[in-house]
Symmetry: none
Subunit: 123 residues, 4 copies
């Protein structure tokens, strides 16, 4: 996992966690990596991971058990889905559509890009 410049690292880590959950790699009730573990494996300060986990706990996506660790919360999947979906629909999409209008990119052109997209994917 490599960090791009733009977004805060702790949010990129949150995205990563959500992704694991949405891909069902991490299932409800599973223990997730401890703060220190994840911090070491991502080569990041534990405080940064802590921030991620606090953020996700607030969103009811993960939950803590005293002295034991963090676990995938009951409603993690729907919560993560709704979180990311809202983000997508309200922040990303309108901006995209606006850019398309401005740049004169038709939806058909987008269609083509969609089906040949691998070209643009760095990560």
């Amino acid at each position: 996992m490599d960090f791009q410049n733009k977004k805060a690292i702790y949010l990129q880590i949150a995205d990563y966690v959500c992704e694991q959950i949405l891909l069902k790699k991490w299932q409800v009730g599973n223990k997730i990596p401890s703060i220190r573990e994840l911090a070491i494996s991502l080569e990041v300060n534990p405080n940064t991971v802590m921030r991620t986990y606090a953020f996700l706990e607030d969103k009811k996506i993960i939950q803590t058990q005293r002295g034991i660790g963090y676990f995938v919360a009951e409603d993690a999947y729907p919560q993560a889905l709704s979180l990311k979906k809202t983000e997508f629909l309200q922040q990303d999409l309108p901006q995209i559509f606006r850019s398309m209008d401005l740049l004169g990119i038709s939806f058909e052109a987008l269609n083509e890009l969609y089906h040949t997209r691998k070209t643009y994917e760095k990560e």
Copy 2:
């Protein structure tokens, strides 16, 4: 003009200027609002507009004439187009496509959203 929290204000203003140019509302050689004017009308600190203009000048989209004001540069249109297009293709799109996969949003669904998009543009 309302500022969303996400992007830096000076970049949002830059977007606005580019928009005027791409929509051909501001044409090559036209004088654009002075820093002070624009700052007042947008209720923003003049420093912020100054930063916008410096950014756009660096991109060869506008140019300054000492003591007179800022003007739409010679190649403003292609420059603005290329700037926004690059941004769009390399930064925005890949991220969008990735989100679609993750959220299970098909291209057909996107199509529908595209044609009813006004709903999402309010906020």
Copy 3:
């Protein structure tokens, strides 16, 4: 018995023990559940119960007999009573009264809550 997030588990267990004593369910000299037993029945780490018992022994509410088990101490009742009473009067009450002032909750309203309280005890 369910553990709320707020208070340390070992203290919640201590509360439980005090409760048994104050309700006279556990009487002076009675043997109380072994650390292991209680840990199993509460689905808790034995270390946690051990901490509870150490805490209560320090408060002279229970006492250990080597190799036999823990017993309700001689002065358990008054000790438990004084412990909880002090806690209540010096820590809980002032905070409550302060909150009432701040939230504009009159004593009459509290009265009503007191007599219909079962509603709030679920969560």
Copy 4:
């Protein structure tokens, strides 16, 4: 302002801010002390105040303006009221009532304590 041991400092500061708002000392739209200012005046690390402000912003009680500062949010009063009231009704009260039952303190006794409470107030 002195910090008691029990609660996290950043939450005690949050309580303080809520109190100012509930007492209408800080009104909607007012700028509140900057992170650094408050940190210095409370003799606390700026990060701690930052944590408080992030917490309160999430609760929609305060809101940030880039590079300018934090302001009392639109719905600060009702939000703060609801936050503290929920806390009171769901966390504090049930515990109090339970203690009363256990300690054999009648509501009449509480009444008396309420009206002579100054005795118990340290802070």
